[in-house]
Symmetry: C2
Subunit: 228 residues, 2 copies
């Protein structure tokens, strides 16, 4: 009897490592990604490559209307530009890259999908260490989503709620890179840069955290950078 | 200083009464509806009429991809047909009209919208009395969504979470009709029938609960029925 897991896949490093952890734990992977009006769709291209690499049974890419409600420099519709913070300031305040409700919307779709295919787990690559002060990346947030799974779904009502798994929650970026290397995650197929393009910018918060992670893990990042 | 409320508006009786309650409480209404692959869009037409009638400041209608993940006889893509249960059996089991995760997805968008416009409240017309055994219409569910608002949003982190208001939660359908009549809700602009068409079928669970509510409230339902 196979176990099914819905894996949220952004195309970034963290969700790729998370999907490979799910695979290692014996789950059949049902990948879920979103076209939500991002500035670039490079990360969706990467999400497809990762879902193939991890051998996903299915990969749903849903289009959602975040642009009509959201306000974030990550959205193509936004007048704000992507910030480049000094590395020691990342995470001190909530930056303009924060998309209101994004993880909650993603997880609510994941709950619906998990209920429909009767999955045992949902994997999400949030982490609360090297992150950007987003409220929806904290342990308390994941706990409440687990409670939501208990009350909001038929499986929950029957006493078998889907488990919300966030295996990177307490890891540093360096630990995530090391774990990914052990699991042979094809890092070259992941994309973390907020800016898109053929080479990562090396300056946005996401690039800086990624580069620091690879450096501290003594691993080489195969993604090309404009500058680092 | 005006107070803003996001009001989930389906076009049905309950959400219409809820929006008029929000208005009565002094909120500026920001209505939110969804095109989610329903069998018919009559209810969206009604949602627009209600948002106009209640004087909404804005009305967002978001298209969402529920058909790709959901399984429900309410979805046009479903092979299942709308059931007609005997009235005394409604609510005993979860029927095929249940859409997995629907309210959770709607509320997650409402949380995002509320965060973006800095709303103080979200109004949702769920009720746990004359309902159809859906897990996401129970008081415990609303409590968890309130907790989610505390941890998932910037307002919550700052100690000012949006309030989740479900003023119909403990009312019977008859009490909802009475309240709507007092608030002069234009019942003729609401649509409850799961089937669409020019006349309500009078036989689906939703029609039966509505008709029973009007009867017990000694009110005339202005919506035309094929049979009642």
């Amino acid at each position: 009897m196979t176990k099914k897991a819905v894996c949220l896949l952004s195309g970034g490093l963290d969700s790729a490592v998370t999907a490979f952890i799910a695979k290692k734990q014996g789950y059949d992977i049902y990948a879920l990604s979103f076209r939500y009006g991002q500035r670039h769709t490079k990360e969706l291209t990467c999400a497809k490559k990762i879902s193939t690499a991890v051998g996903a049974k299915n990969h749903l890419i849903l289009s959602i209307d975040l642009q009509k409600i959201g306000r974030s420099s990550l959205l193509a519709s936004s007048p704000e530009t992507i910030p480049n913070h000094p590395i020691n300031e990342i995470g001190r305040t909530i930056p303009t890259t924060y998309v209101p409700g994004r993880n909650t919307i993603f997880l609510s779709y994941a709950l619906a999908y998990a209920e429909t295919i009767n999955a045992e787990a949902i994997f999400i690559g949030v982490n609360a260490v090297d992150y950007s002060a987003y409220p929806d990346c904290r342990p308390r947030y994941i706990q409440i989503i687990q409670q939501l799974a208990r009350v909001a779904t038929c499986q929950g009502v029957k006493g078998k709620p889907v488990r919300i798994k966030a295996p990177l929650l307490h890891l540093s970026k360096a630990q995530i890179v090391k774990k990914g290397a052990r699991l042979k995650v094809p890092f070259s197929k992941t994309w973390s840069c907020y800016r898109g393009g053929t080479k990562a910018c090396g300056r946005c918060d996401s690039c800086q955290l990624r580069l620091k992670g690879f450096q501290e893990a003594h691993q080489k990042d195969p993604v090309p950078y404009k500058m680092r």
